[in-house]
């Protein structure tokens, strides 16, 4: 055995933590544009309702135009108007792609929500219009107001005024597509462990997990046998196919769930993946989790590679 083969064998040796195998692989992520909003209302209940609504149908840029999620809840001390609020983040291919998403989502889901107000949630030199566009809903009755160095629009609505900051920041340093694949013996156990990971990631600032409840069950691969399909089921991670196709799964795995993580910076995505991985390692064993992996395209498409072994 040469020194080179020995090194290769050592590198290939599985990493096992708390009985869970951590694959020696990496998540491949992409540069994205991102913006953020702070949404407030008279109560936390309605601020949450508004944030949930405006981030709905925002799971993947492939079909939704933007990937959206709640970053965190804000106390009244943290919001511009002293009311309960939530910070939401939105990720897209480019600032130009995000602009109509911001306008449509704020216009249809925030402007319409009782008692709401909307403020910038990211500070950056590049700006995306909020009230700059939505003010026209006021049909000439809107008024502008400067306060604290910022410009706000007061747009008359049926329960008073919708107050909306003129614009919000947009960063092109964001990263989308950090991910973890959590594999285990049964569906309820894997779901419980993945939920714990999502909860841990939710505590990390500047990241979102845009899929339903933060979890994806339909891992995809690029392309399809059918014309016009950009993505299709990744059969290599489909447990019901593992005997019939070239599978990535071992015999003991009956369920796989994925968490996709978008962040305002590459470091935030790493922090999110680290928190999720730690939660699975700590609690996954008792829920039947046997393995954690990550999705990539061979490292040829995305510039950001998050190696799981570096995040343990």
């Amino acid at each position: 055995m040469t020194a080179q083969t020995e090194t290769a064998l050592q590198a290939a040796a599985p990493i096992v933590r708390n009985g869970i195998t951590i694959d020696d692989t990496f998540a491949e992520a992409f540069g994205m544009s991102a913006t953020g909003l702070v949404i407030t209302a008279d109560s936390a209940k309605w601020a949450r309702q508004c944030a949930v609504t405006m981030t709905g149908f925002g799971t993947s840029v492939i079909g939704c135009g933007a990937e959206c999620g709640i970053d965190r809840e804000l106390s009244p001390d943290e919001t511009p108007d002293g009311r309960p609020g939530f910070r939401v983040l939105m990720f897209g291919f480019s600032p130009d792609a995000l602009t109509p998403q911001v306008m449509n989502r704020v216009g249809q889901c925030v402007l319409t929500s009782p008692g709401s107000a909307c403020f910038a949630g990211v500070e950056a030199p590049m700006r995306i219009g909020l009230g700059a566009t939505l003010r026209r809903f006021g049909d000439g009755h809107q008024t502008a107001r400067r306060s604290g160095g910022k410009r706000y629009w007061r747009i008359p609505v049926m329960d008073g005024e919708f107050v909306c900051e003129h614009d919000t920041g947009c960063t092109t340093d964001a990263v989308g597509g950090g991910n973890l694949l959590i594999c285990g013996r049964d569906r309820p156990g894997v779901l419980a462990a993945t939920e714990l990971a999502v909860e841990a990631i939710a505590k990390v600032p500047d990241v979102i997990t845009p899929f339903p409840g933060g979890i994806v069950r339909s891992g995809s691969k690029v392309g399809s046998k059918y014309a016009g399909m950009f993505a299709s089921s990744n059969e290599a991670f489909g447990p019901t196919l593992k005997g019939a196709v070239r599978s990535e799964l071992t015999a003991d795995i009956a369920s796989v769930l994925e968490i996709v993580i978008d962040g305002l910076t590459a470091a935030a995505v790493a922090d999110g993946m680290r928190a999720g991985l730690a939660a699975v390692i700590a609690e996954g064993g008792r829920h039947g989790v046997t393995r954690v992996s990550a999705g990539n395209y061979g490292g040829k498409l995305g510039p950001h590679h998050y190696h799981l072994k570096d995040l343990i």
Partner: protein
């Protein structure tokens, strides 16, 4: 390094005009050029050195003027930065055309304080004359930015034709506060006098009430009682930016009068609900 202290040598009968001396000029200290600067307003052509001792004193970067009862106009005119402290009363046009920095008047101020200013802060510990933050003759707008904080009361035409910025009056304003206002905010914690907001196009006048004999102008429309989110935002910003100078009267539930409907009517007079 200390600041600059100007102390009146003697009480002069004539008004003095400092409008040609910015605090930056004064901060350079007792140069020959500065000493020879004419500040008198009569044929006697009094020079600065005739009336004031100029020496080092106070905190670094500060310019302190001890007026000694002199009537000095134009203090801090066109100021762009630093701090000017006036011990005693300031005359007319303190901080007129100011662009930045801070002026503290530890006494009363005459008319046109901060007129046409576009930035910075003027704090007046006493009462203030007419047209605070208002219009300078020949100009198109009154103040276009910055903050004037008046601990006492303000006389007439406060914020005349102001376009942006904030005027905070602990006491009451006289007649015609915010007349022909184009934007910005006037807060009158002691209430406003007659004809507040006459011909205002935009902007906000927030007052604790109306002075005796004053009424809501007929061309203002009662829009009812509202909880205005924008007032919450402004109150928090004032507290953060102004600290102890921030208004204490910051309700967010108010009765809103829209006006002046004799113009475009996009301004508002806000009174307690």
């Amino acid at each position: 390094m200390a600041g600059i202290l100007l102390t009146a040598k003697t009480r002069v009968a004539e008004r003095l005009d400092f409008s040609g001396l910015t605090p930056a000029d004064l901060a350079r200290g007792a140069t020959n050029e500065l000493s020879a600067h004419v500040v008198g307003t009569t044929r006697h052509a009094l020079r600065l050195a005739d009336v004031f001792d100029v020496r080092s004193g106070g905190a670094d970067g500060d310019v302190m003027v001890e007026t000694g009862g002199a009537l000095i106009d134009g203090l801090g005119a066109s100021m762009t930065g630093g701090r000017l402290i006036i011990t005693g009363d300031a005359g007319e046009r303190v901080g007129v055309g100011m662009k930045g920095g801070r002026i503290e008047v530890r006494g009363r101020a005459g008319g046109h304080a901060g007129a046409g200013m576009s930035g910075g802060l003027i704090h007046i510990a006493g009462d203030c004359g007419d047209c605070a933050g208002g219009l300078i003759a020949g100009k198109r707008f009154g103040m276009t930015g910055g903050t004037i904080s008046i601990d006492g009361s303000a006389a007439t035409r406060t914020g005349e034709k102001m376009r942006r910025g904030t005027i905070l009056v602990r006491g009451a304003t006289g007649a015609m506060a915010g007349v022909r206002m184009l934007g910005g905010t006037i807060v009158a914690e002691g209430g406003v006098g007659p004809d507040a907001g006459r011909l205002m196009r935009r902007g906000t006048i927030l007052a604790s009430g109306l002075a005796r004999g004053a009424g809501i102008p007929a061309t203002f429309a009662d829009c009812g009682v509202h909880d205005l989110v924008i007032l919450r935002i402004m109150a928090r910003d004032w507290t953060r930016e102004l600290g102890p100078l921030a208004p204490r009267f910051t309700p967010h539930v108010v009765r809103r009068y829209a006006g002046d409907l004799a113009t475009i009517g996009k301004g508002e007079l806000l009174l307690p609900a």
